[in-house]
Symmetry: C2
Subunit: 393 residues, 2 copies
């Protein structure tokens, strides 16, 4: 049967998360599994107002075919925000609107990767990146991460072994681990990469969702000609619009635009214009502050419950922002065995194993704290703690 | 420099049409170049009403992440319409929503094509298909088309030479030629393919836009297990939503869903729900009838002007529907030379050459009749006729 399909698609494992989400979509389930923004945080009224304004002021212009690069005022907004929030000199022309940041990965795969092209990813790594890079049959080299960021000695090892074309990282509130690269770690990563022909992909869907401290510098500051930025409105405004963007170094833009055109001509002009109207009529900072306060509270609730109910020798990360934290059980304990018991009690999470492309992580799992309510978080973690204590050590 | 890029993207020629459209976007230009629906035909008020209803009735559900396959009521509507309009037994589960039909091609490339996989396309062929199939490095075998459909003897030749995995056709009001496969031709194509391991991709963005006669049977009637249907709302309702779909034979669906997930997770739930609300609250047939009457009038205006102003020995197609017709100049006349003169006079069209993957078509060009106004059509064709008479014969 597999002869029916391309080598490319046979190289992609079906998403285990997707299978868990199917189970977790049962409404009696307390889900720490997905990465869903909390539904109460969507700015419905303001989006509706923006939408009506677009119909009224732009009419047919908002409904016609459009250019591949994206709606200029939206790209201008994004460029300006890079400057205001991060001091990054990026102009409208540097930005290509994509259908979510996931599509940015697909376009990079199309444009940069041949069969066997060497690529570096984190261990554990974002599953959507593993899938996209696997589809284009990159050779995935993993570098472990710690609570500080990349393990530099391991990165240097890999760079000594091969010349990677691409390195993919989520340096802020990483998915799945919740860790953030320190400034020192970023500088060390940049130093290691400086003489390598490697593009560094900085995927930053959660960067604005910081609970404590202040933003660490983008790799674009350290490696301006080599850093490819991926961004998204899915976590800050609305996921269903599927609006993200990519900021490549200039020599890559032309081919990325061709790849985008071949993929789907352009991202919906209509949602681009609605989101743009929303951004010009509302203060995104105020909205982001609401999200941050909400998730910070949920995260604190989860951390407090873990402190109370999990055995003391269980390690977990303490995220500075984002939507996830990461639990490491005792060495011989299995998060898959835990999941089986948990599902019986109507609790879902994602075991760590699928985030490790070369195997491992069997005693780890990811907890999402953005989606469930506070009572459910407290109750769910209490139950999980009980189940962990029942696991063989 | 090309070492920077993948072999895949280096295999895709930039779209010549895109370059012409840039020139044609000048507002003083009479454009017969693009394939834009006429902007006066967008059902703005009804879409606006549908949008407000979605905000009101569905709220956060319409703004959250969603499943990869697409919004079920929309898929049910599409399935029902296949049954009502074409007698095709297709169920909701057979339909995967894509970001325009173009993305259907990208997903097929991902799932079915290896480097060098043999594929058949029409000559001349839709440029977006040439690009998508080239990206995945298919080997493109061309079969010429006539005003009846595929030239069967040539199709049989190609099938004798190789075992194509895929064949891509636009049997109704083909892009670029405007021709429609006759029923006899469809039967002959199906007979030729019956014992071949070839999937037939039937791309049908214009099928509903028929001016005369009645719909010819889909290949799905003749080759139900081998035909892959691509569809789109871009020409019947609104292009900017980027909503299309793919109906594969069942064994292909699982991998296509994985490919879709890797590409962009899912198509915007929001626009899916808005379009679905529009379709349930309005009669699409009534709206399509308005479009058909409009384009039929525009087409007749263009044909009358061609009859009046073009030299008698120039051949052109007489489309039964859709948005395009196709002109063949005398053997040694160059449509590229004509374009240069035409642009100077503020008239744009697309020369035929880019639609021929193996070269040729230098004396052909495509005219779009959906987008310009009737006066502009008359005046533009008159001028083109004058320029053609000035070409060396």
């Amino acid at each position: 049967m597999n002869e029916l399909f391309s080598d490319r698609i046979n190289n992609v494992a079906p998403s285990f998360i997707r299978e868990i989400l199917k189970v977790a979509s049962n409404s009696s389930m307390t889900s720490f599994a997905g990465g869903l923004p909390h539904r109460e945080l969507f700015p419905i009224a303001a989006l509706r107002e923006a939408t009506n304004k677009v119909y009224e002021d732009q009419g047919a212009d908002a409904l016609q075919y459009s250019n591949t690069e994206g709606f200029e005022p939206l790209r201008e907004y994004i460029a300006r925000r890079y400057w205001e929030k991060q001091g990054l000199p990026i102009s409208m022309e540097d930005i290509l609107i994509t259908s979510g940041a996931q599509q940015g990965l697909d376009l990079l795969g199309k444009v940069l990767i041949n069969d066997g092209t060497e690529v570096i990813i984190e261990e554990p790594a974002y599953l959507g990146a593993i899938q996209a890079l696997s589809l284009y049959r990159a050779r995935l080299n993993t570098v472990p991460i710690s609570t500080e960021g990349m393990v530099i000695s391991k990165l240097v090892d890999v760079l000594g072994r091969c010349k990677p074309k691409l390195m993919y990282v989520v340096p802020n509130f990483q998915n799945p681990s919740g860790i953030t690269y320190t400034k020192d770690n970023r500088e060390a990563v940049a130093t290691a990469l400086r003489d390598s022909p490697t593009f560094l992909v900085e995927d930053d869907p959660y960067g604005e969702l910081r609970f404590v401290g202040s933003r660490q510098p983008s790799f674009r500051h350290f490696l301006p000609d080599k850093t490819i930025l991926l961004g998204s409105f899915s976590k800050t405004v609305v996921p269903a619009f599927r609006l993200g963007w990519i900021v490549p170094p200039r020599p890559l833009m032309g081919k990325l635009v061709i790849a985008k055109q071949v993929s789907d001509l352009h991202t919906s002009t209509f949602v681009q214009r609605v989101l743009c109207q929303y951004l010009y009529d509302n203060d995104l900072d105020t909205h982001v502050k609401t999200i941050v306060e909400f998730y910070d509270r949920q995260c604190k609730t989860m951390l407090a419950a873990i402190g109370e109910y999990f055995p003391k020798e269980i390690f977990y990360t303490n995220p500075e922002g984002g939507m996830f934290l990461w639990v490491t059980l005792l060495k011989k304990q299995s998060s898959m065995a835990l999941l089986e018991k948990a599902i019986e009690k109507n609790i879902a999470f994602v075991p760590g194993h699928p985030f490790y492309v070369n195997g491992g992580g069997d005693n780890t799992f990811r907890l999402n704290f953005s989606s469930a309510g506070e009572d459910a978080i407290h109750g769910g973690i209490a139950l999980l703690g009980k189940l962990i204590r029942e696991l063989p050590a």
